[in-house]
């Protein structure tokens, strides 16, 4: 029980740290933050339930007033802004990624990349783009053009999530709770 609690809490902190650290510029020059990579790792490492709970805990602290979202954003305002769809999609994405990880028999690295693409891009974009469409009063197609700006960075992050998960599986096989 304690182990579940501490894993959820420490991964919530990891999402925050990945959003705050500027050194992790994934591609030099382009400011992509690793925050959504943190969401993907929650799913691939912790599994569906714990991963989603870690993301929810992180979002609760953002809503409570900590500026933990990438770019130092936070507070209740971000939940009233145009990117609210992405925030709602975060825990769902982590859950779907974890759920896929728990069920697939593919090798860990491939499974983690594929799950991150499906959950962290497919599912997340459905929520994010619907949010943009509602908040900016545009059609879904128009909002989709806006959302696609993040696609190259997110594909890179899905691949990285796969590589990181694979390394973790080699170094600490027991720590990969999603494959427990």
């Amino acid at each position: 029980m304690e182990r579940n609690l501490t894993h959820i809490a420490l991964f919530a902190a990891l999402i925050a740290v990945l959003g705050l650290v500027p050194q992790i510029s994934l591609a030099s020059g382009v400011p992509i933050t690793a925050q959504s990579l943190g969401i993907m790792l929650c799913g691939t490492v912790l599994g569906a339930r714990r991963g989603a709970l870690a993301v929810l805990l992180f979002l609760a602290l953002v809503a409570a007033g900590l500026p933990l979202l990438s770019g130092g954003r936070g507070g209740l305002g971000v939940f009233a802004g145009p990117s609210v769809g992405y925030l709602i999609g975060f825990p769902v994405a982590a859950f779907v990624i974890g759920w896929l990880m728990e069920r697939t028999t593919l090798p860990v690295g491939t499974a983690a990349t594929a799950a991150s693409v499906i959950g962290g891009i497919g599912v997340l974009y459905v929520f994010g783009i619907s949010g943009l469409a509602v908040m900016l009063d545009k059609t879904v197609t128009e909002a989709a053009y806006l959302g696609m700006a993040y696609l190259p960075g997110d594909i890179l992050k899905a691949v990285l999530a796969g590589l990181v998960t694979q390394s973790l599986a080699r170094m600490r096989p027991a720590s990969l709770l999603s494959r427990g």
Partner: protein, 199 residues
């Protein structure tokens, strides 16, 4: 760690957090039901008046918190200039700025601890699923404590990378940072168990 609570104490700081959140929920719902530019303009002016009661420094922080909205405002403005639907554009922009500014106002006038207490109260129905408010409080405290610890650790990992290589560590900090988080989680769990468990 810094929170978004304003250091400038204004009257709204003394209001109970629950009341502010309830009013914010009502006001935001209202904003999304309104579709007349005139009424939304009034709502915007009312919000501006509300923020101005906090004085100049408070207004400055409010404006700084609205900065991430600029790209969206620009896109909406250009879009509606192009399609010629100016009234529609005004509605979207006014609603967006007012809703975010109001929500920021509540965040700026409520202490983190008060907000977390409200969340714990809201999460009480979840006790049937085994999420006791004690466990929730512990989880919040752990995250808040471990963010600076992990930031420091990521800093050290990239420093030691730079000591060994001419470039920056960039994405290579990810594996050691995640590994450290997993190991920390195990150790903290043991420490908690040794001190009588999470409940």
């Amino acid at each position: 760690m810094l929170t978004l609570t304003s250091p400038v104490e204004i009257w709204a700081h003394r209001w109970p957090a629950g009341r502010k959140l309830a009013l914010l929920a009502l006001a935001t719902t209202g904003l999304f039901l309104l579709s007349s530019p005139l009424l939304l303009c009034l709502a915007f002016l009312a919000t501006l008046g509300l923020i101005l009661t906090g004085g100049a420094a408070f207004l400055e922080t409010s404006l700084r918190l609205l900065r991430p909205l600029w790209p969206f405002l620009l896109i909406v403005a250009l879009w509606h200039l192009w399609t010629g639907d100016l009234a529609g554009g005004t509605v979207v922009m006014l609603r967006m700025v007012t809703a975010v500014a109001l929500a920021n106002f509540v965040t700026m006038t409520t202490r983190l601890s008060d907000m977390i207490l409200v969340f714990q109260w809201l999460a009480r129905p979840l006790q049937v699923f085994g999420l006791s408010s004690r466990r929730l409080a512990l989880a919040f405290a752990l995250v808040i404590r471990f963010i600076p610890v992990m930031l420091d650790r990521v800093g050290k990992i990239s420093e030691s990378w730079r000591a060994r290589s001419p470039g920056n560590a960039r994405w290579r900090v990810l594996v050691p940072a995640t590994l450290a988080a997993l190991d920390d989680a195990d150790r903290v769990a043991e420490a908690l168990r040794a001190r009588g468990g999470a409940d």
